[in-house]
Symmetry: C2
Subunit: 689 residues, 2 copies
């Protein structure tokens, strides 16, 4: 639990405080003092009467009642100290910096458990152990550097790795990014990343609270809670970006070795972030760039003007925006000509707007005015202004500063001369702005944000889904395995998913009669063996009774063959839907075009069940092969609405049948009129007490 | 031409020199003085006897003989000054900073022409006009800042945009990248990017010359020369990376507006860079990161060890390397256990090797030793070492420095604490090293380098290509248009490209006789209309004479129909080869899988004719769909050798028939045994005097 004593302690004691700033107990006290902590500060140190000018006590037993205790003493000494502080000194918040707990040894884990019991008994908060601490606008309880600018509207950074948080700050401070709080949860014995998000969500005050959250996580312990609170915060107006490290196989092994947690599959993480509306990042540089973009007003559209006095970066930025699906529309006509007439000869206004190296601050102001008021097609402005050092940039950046206060459209400052105009950039940052030193890094990060979906709603589509029947079927299954074809059919029917008519029998005459009724050509498949194709158990396009009779006889000779299934042979384009139950995440649903698209090109998108229509459409549209579904070059498209409907219905089915651990419909055959499931496999596994 | 007076002037005169460092003529003089120029320095200024301590002359007529003249005077004054300096003062190198020439007005272009005539007459060099100048280890003849560290083994930067060069330097100096020379060619009236490359190639001295070239270009005026000298330099041991801005449609419009040059198609640029072995970059950040990587020894393999004392960045880097096709192999076994036993408890050696936050410089040394000497599977090491500020990093970075001097395997220093350990990082850079502050940016840039092909050889595959016959056919064509099917067939035959047998006639009985001979099913296509499919002029899988007769009658009714072509109906997977003649570049050849792969997924790779086998294989293997060609999941692959052969043969055909402006073979039908052209179109266009 997160107590007020943790966030706004009236008094803090550093246990193990030191005069030596090279020790955690010294560095954290120095940071608290330098950060101007306005509450009462105490130190515990058996050898000193005063530490860094702060009154020191020989033992925790000697201190007056205190809100927050920071422990920088060896692990074995921590449990007793916590006991005394909680029981006798009313301490209701602990930050334990020390390592040597569960992350190292079994004995350490036991120490950790004792501490947790005490802390929970007294209703106190615990950050750590094995962390760099916590800092916010009120107290800088971290032993690390750098300390960023802290501001109530700055970024909240929550990291499961302390060192990584430190390195994220290194990347952030250079850009001028300010912070409201930095949480390093360490071993997260009591408070993990999800807990911090939950607290922020449940106590959210839209008037006063920061609306930007950046996360660094290596494992997601409680995906449901992460999803719930992340999407809730985003719906309340927050913007969240996260690195989930360990996205590759080797990276996932590395992450497990770093945190000891079992890695979640990357498609589950991807699906969770999509559903929550979290912008996924892959590097510190990208995360802090996205954080900087979040500090600017949200985009209302995708059309950018680029104003610069140096052509090259404008061209590279145009390339980057275009590749990310954003536009740099050509500006022309009388208004553009009017603007051009007010700039120096040779200036161009076609977008990028190039005011030339000799362009003045007034030219910049004029261009910004035109972009705000006269170019209605423009949604946002990128201003690229560096210098070869002939003149200072103070005036230019002042114009930028002034316009950023008032402009109705977002203005992105790109100030590349971080050395030559270092003083000017610093002055600009000191006014609370951020700086994007590399235009392409900005363009790429911005595309990532614009292309991230909004958080999904939580409605479950129930229309036409026969939940009691689904439960009856699932409950009737006794064995953990792939279930029989007629049960697969029944489950899909119950969910309202159209399925090709089919007939299973071990009697040849019955199969032939079915084929006569539905008409040739038909498909015949052996029932029994799991990998039918590999044993010659699937034959397409059987055009006559005679041929079907021959195949029936042959298939019944295949080992494990129990019967033969016949279906009319449908035509259409193959689609694919698959689902897998991921421990803690629930069902991850994958969709794509069938065949090589799934198997070779790996062109699938993922969502977390249950899925709304909006999510299903977003999944379909994020496929590389979406144009095939939409139809191209005079070719009719496929029925996207029916495909989305089946994805939604399947996800509802899964929601009520969590015993389904794995399933796929492969293929679904799609035309412009219909989408029909042709083959499906479902594997059920039940937990037994 | 590039004269020795430009590179190593014994004397320099700044015409328009100023005491005001806010003017180009003042800033460039200051840079020359501060750069410790050791030759004789002179100034021309009508009002001063001395400028910045340098003797000043009232007029160019008054100065003694001088090697290099830098002009910072209004454009209209330049031609006369150049005339006097070249004719009377033996000046054989000019750098003209002034703007107001061809980039602005027609009058300016005339001034520029006059200057060029004079300069050429006297065999002098001309850099600019409208540029920031040229700097090398001998003289800093630029007016801009920042001035990077200059070193004879540093980077050569050649930029077609002065401001962009400046901003590239901003990004470079932060990383510690050193330079041998920086060229901003401005209007490139005499010396352009290609000329600088040519000079470097023709005068290359492997003992003394810098081997790293970074380019920023917005248009490629002379692709042949660029290709020839870039690949030649790379074959001599150089490494070249380049940004060609304007890769998107909007970006290309922006680039044209910036430089006035007509944009080359991006696939032509891509093909040229592939052929030359140039690593393509898209941002300043990426270019300078690649430049930093180039300063380290070349990789001998793809297996990396990551050594760190902070887990998170190691995980993110592992992800980035894995995504780029590089490996972070698991380290295990007795040697790994031995290393582990020498580190602190809790350290892990599985790779990433995590020596813990408390790990010492000696631990780092030990790990580097093991990676160099005992882990044979490791090709290179990434060392990630930042700090939360408790201890200084001098010792740690000294170990890194020492090992980097001697280690047989490349070591990549990743030092993220650019603020907190700023002094340590600066000290490390001062020893001549670079720093990669963001591990993922490094990982991504490295993948780009590793995946760039080597320069292609220049051999033309002639075996089985009947060049005289090709020329006879081409010469026989009178009209500019798509050529007749029998000529297409004849050209492909002459190039040794297997073509499906086909027969064209306007007599039904002849067509039927052909089909009887080759056997049904056949394909029938109308001859005459260009977009056959759109007018119902293609019918596949005709199985009987009767059907063929009907289709013949129908097709001959189609407007513009002249005759009907019949082919046996082949089976196989559709492949595609296309080619287009690009002004100045020659033929760009595209290949891919046919149908949706080309049309919807745009999964094509490009090469510049003529192509070697190595290039053809590299093109095929860089397709996303390559796995389909290779064969997957028990499916036989396609005959890659024959596909490559056809690409090579086609490129030879094009080499000897430059009148072919556009062609495609679509489809080629491929099985594991053969690849056969089924349909092809060739458009010929001849230049007529």
């Amino acid at each position: 639990m997160i107590t007020n004593q943790l966030l706004n302690p009236g008094s803090i004691v550093v246990v193990g405080a030191s005069n030596n700033a090279h020790k955690p107990g010294g560095a954290i006290l120095r940071n608290l003092i330098n950060g101007g902590y306005a509450g009462e500060l105490r130190a515990v140190n058996p050898k000193e009467a005063e530490v860094q000018g702060v009154a020191a006590f020989a033992d925790v037993k000697d201190i007056p009642d205190t809100d927050l205790a920071i422990l920088a003493i060896p692990a074995p000494l921590c449990p007793d100290a916590v006991e005394v502080l909680a029981a006798e000194k009313q301490v209701r918040a602990f930050i334990i910096l020390s390592a040597g707990f569960g992350e190292e040894t079994r004995e350490g884990a036991l120490l950790e458990n004792r501490i947790l019991d005490t802390v929970n008994k007294y209703g106190a908060s615990l950050i750590g152990p094995n962390c760099i601490g916590l800092m916010n606008t009120w107290h800088h309880s971290v032993f690390s550097q750098p300390i960023p600018q802290l501001h109530s509207q700055g970024v909240d950074l929550i990291s499961s790795s302390g060192a990584t948080a430190v390195f994220i700050l290194e990347s952030a401070v250079t850009k001028g990014l300010q912070f409201n709080s930095v949480w390093s949860v360490g071993n997260a014995k009591q408070i993990g990343v999800e807990d911090v998000l939950q607290y922020m969500d449940e106590h959210f005050n839209p008037e006063t609270d920061s609306k930007i959250k950046l996360l660094y996580i290596e494992s997601i312990g409680d995906p449901d809670r992460m999803l719930f609170h992340a999407s809730s915060l985003i719906r309340k107006g927050c913007r969240i970006a996260a690195i989930k490290a360990g996205s590759s196989e080797s990276g996932s092994r590395a992450a497990s070795s770093h945190t000891g947690a079992i890695a979640s599959s990357d498609s589950a993480v991807e699906a969770l972030f999509r559903k929550a509306g979290v912008v996924r990042c892959y590097s510190r540089e990208e995360l802090t760039t996205v954080g900087c973009i979040f500090t600017l007003p949200e985009l209302k559209g995708k059309n950018f003007a680029i104003i610069t006095h140096a052509g090259g970066p404008g061209v590279m930025l145009t390339d980057a925006l275009s590749k990310g699906g954003l536009n740099v529309p050509k500006l022309q006509g009388p208004v553009a000509e009017e603007l051009k007439s007010k700039l120096y000869p040779g200036a161009s206004v076609g977008n990028p707007i190039d005011i030339l190296a000799t362009g003045t601050p007034e030219h910049l102001r004029l261009c910004l005015d035109y972009c705000e008021e006269k170019f209605d097609e423009i949604d946002a402005v990128m201003a690229i202004f560096g210098t070869p050092g002939l003149v200072t940039m103070f005036e230019m950046y002042d114009v930028l500063h002034e316009k950023m206060q008032t402009c109705r459209k977002p203005i992105f400052p790109i100030l590349p001369s971080i050395n030559t105009a270092g003083a000017e950039v610093d002055a600009f940052l000191a006014k609370g702005h951020v700086n994007f030193a590399d235009e392409v890094t900005l363009g790429t990060a911005l595309s990532r944000i614009v292309n991230a979906p909004r958080p999904a709603n939580n409605e479950i589509e129930l229309f036409g889904v026969d939940v009691p029947r689904i439960r009856r079927i699932i409950d009737s299954i006794a064995e953990d395995s792939y279930i029989a074809p007629h049960l697969v059919q029944a489950l899909l029917h119950s969910a309202g998913i159209p399925v090709v008519e089919e007939f299973v029998s071990d009697k040849k005459e019955e199969v032939l009669a079915f084929a006569r009724r539905t008409g040739f050509p038909v498909v015949a498949k052996v029932v029994g063996p799991v990998h039918k194709s590999d044993v010659g158990g699937v034959v397409l396009n059987i055009k006559s009774e005679q041929h079907l009779a021959l195949e029936f006889d042959r298939m019944m000779q295949i080992p494990e063959a129990r019967s033969v299934m016949a279906q009319p042979m449908l035509k259409g384009t193959e689609l694919f839907i698959g689902a897998k139950y991921e421990e803690k995440f629930g069902h991850v649903v994958l969709c794509g075009l069938g065949g090589i698209f799934v198997e070779v090109l790996k062109d699938v998108s993922s969502g977390l069940a249950p899925l709304s229509y909006e999510e299903a459409y977003s999944m379909i549209r994020s496929l590389r092969a979406y144009k095939i579904i939409k139809g191209t070059r005079g070719q009719k498209g496929l029925n996207e609405d029916k495909f989305a409907e089946i994805i939604v219905r399947l996800s509802t089915l899964l929601r009520f049948a969590t015993e389904i651990k794995e399933m796929d419909i492969n293929p679904l055959l799609a035309t412009d009129k219909q989408v029909v499931a042709v083959d499906a496999r479902i594997r059920v596994e039940k937990k037994r007490e």
